[in-house]
Amino acid sequence: MRIDGLPLLATALALVAGSAVAVAVRWERAGRIARAGLISACTLSVVATSAIELNRLTEAYPSWSALGGVQEDPAAPPPPVESASGPGGRIVEITVAGRVSHMTMPAYVYLPPGYARSHERYPVIEALHGFPGSPKSWLRRLDVRRHLDQEIATGRMAPTVVVFAYQTPDPLVDTECTDLAGGPKAETFLTVDVPAAVRAGFRVRSDGPAWGLAGYSAGGFCAADLLLRHPRQYAAAASLSGYASPGIKVGDGSELTTHNVAWRLRHLPQPRAGLYLAYAADDPPSRRDGLTMARLARPPLSVTTAVVAHGGHSDAVWQAMEAPAFDWLSSWLTRPAATP
């Protein structure tokens, strides 16, 4: 039974109902300890059901092993391809053994239609999830494979390899894709280890102009921050409902300076790159930060803005944004080519 599947939720709801019936029926005949047990069961079932539904919404723990904190074995063979049916692209799971960051995490890679038959090297987009969340949010909540297949099939997007990587080793630790002082080195993982694993495992272009970033919510901040911090490595970034600051303490004060997009735009030279800032008009924090970043941007940094009228900070908004964002990113990245 999947941790984010409907059967588990239905079972949990049945347990809520069952525990309510048990309390009602057995109350008179139960002693003090039994009554305490009944009330605990009743409470726990409600808390567990709420947690299961919250996890379904965020995909923070996409599997039972993630909940149990089981580390992936980098030497283990990759699991089977997740979705290979149909004429579109397919998603494969890899394990990124973080030799530099010391984070070893699974990642998911979208291979565009025609990848297996082609000899070309493809441009790459690193897609970053929000917090709480996981790469599975892109795959399950945002239905990203369908969007990518559709944009590529219509010629609005070039065939591109898209990598969905974790931005934290612990679903309860928000890294905002930074190297936390004394904590996980997520920035190193995403900018050194993940690219190295993708270059080693797939036919992709290795040059910076062929690499882009995309992310929603916290991942949107990540995309903008990593673009400004690593402009030689990435040509463009799409920030969907992202922020101008990480909203966490990095541990060295850099959340106010070098890990703060608004600070960087105000105080540092801006790179020759493209930045796509999308937000919902009724999502005040990301609207405010999106407009701030857009107003601070100066050439050679080029900014494109996109606004969804309603939807707040939700999956529906990111679903509306993702296809235009991928189209825009593709126009900024170099083409699939035979060159290394």
Partner: protein, 251 residues
């Protein structure tokens, strides 16, 4: 009643409290036959309203779903498709992929020969926007982009007006153009890159280093063919009109 307004939050909290109060009040009242369903239903109702109240309070604080419309997943903004661009001379080049191109004012460029423009195969049938390879003193590459071959002379001045004119006449991308320059044309190519920031993605030179200064990736090659191959690989793909959302700021 709004989803994040106080009336709904307070109303739900009050309903949860009332349901809890009714649960306690009714716990031992009535016959056993009536008591059991009352207990079960009021307990489930209390739990549901309590979870709902917590959810509404959290949503009011974080504004994940600021409206009922948002909760229903209606964004009110379907992505549109940008209008397909068209060039003034599309029809001419559909008939002849190497049609003559002599835009107004081109005489002032003082080229040794008229510019030669070649559109890729399929230009007429595929409504895509193409990047441009600008060849200064060489020959076409035959790649999937629009190629403009120029033969600058000794008195050739600024070519900064050329991209704008070409954009009007053919379906070109607004950026991602690439330059290939023969040794003698490297200064002209560098000037063009400097005059049009953001337009060019790469500069390839043949048999002469580009020197420092161009704000684009630059490489030097021995042969024209190697230079054009590399330059083409630095350009974006030809793409159909993209999906777009309304913008917040003027472009």
């Amino acid at each position: 009643m709004t989803l994040t307004g106080l009336p709904l939050v307070l109303g739900t909290c009050a309903a949860a409290g009332s349901a809890g109060g009714f649960l306690v009040w009714s716990w031992n009242r009535g016959s056993r036959r009536r008591r059991l369903p009352t207990r079960v239903l009021s307990l489930l109702l209390s739990q549901t309203l309590l979870v709902l109240a917590v959810g509404l309070l959290y949503n009011r604080q974080e504004q994940f779903y600021p409206s009922w419309q948002a909760l229903a997943g209606r964004t009110g903004t379907p992505a549109g498709i940008a209008p397909a661009s068209s060039g003034r001379l599309d029809a001419s080049f559909a008939r002849d992929p190497s049609a003559r191109w002599q835009p107004p004012g081109s005489a002032s460029w003082q080229l040794a020969a008229p510019p030669r423009v070649t559109v890729p195969a399929g230009y007429a049938t595929r409504p895509l926007a193409y990047p441009v390879l600008l060849a200064l003193g060489g020959r076409p590459a035959g790649a999937d982009l629009i190629e403009v071959t120029l033969s600058p002379g000794g008195r050739t001045g600024s070519l900064a007006a050329l991209p704008g004119l070409l954009e009007t006449d053919l379906r070109t991308t607004p950026r991602g153009w690439v330059l290939v320059a023969a040794a003698a044309q490297v200064p002209l190519a560098r000037r063009l890159v400097a005059e049009l920031p953001g337009r060019f993605a790469a500069l390839a030179t043949v048999a002469a280093p580009a020197g420092t200064g161009p704000a684009v990736p630059t490489r030097t090659f021995r042969t024209w063919s190697a230079a054009t191959s590399w330059a083409v690989a630095q350009s974006p793909p030809a793409l159909a009109a993209p999906g777009v959302l309304p913008t917040a700021l003027p472009a």
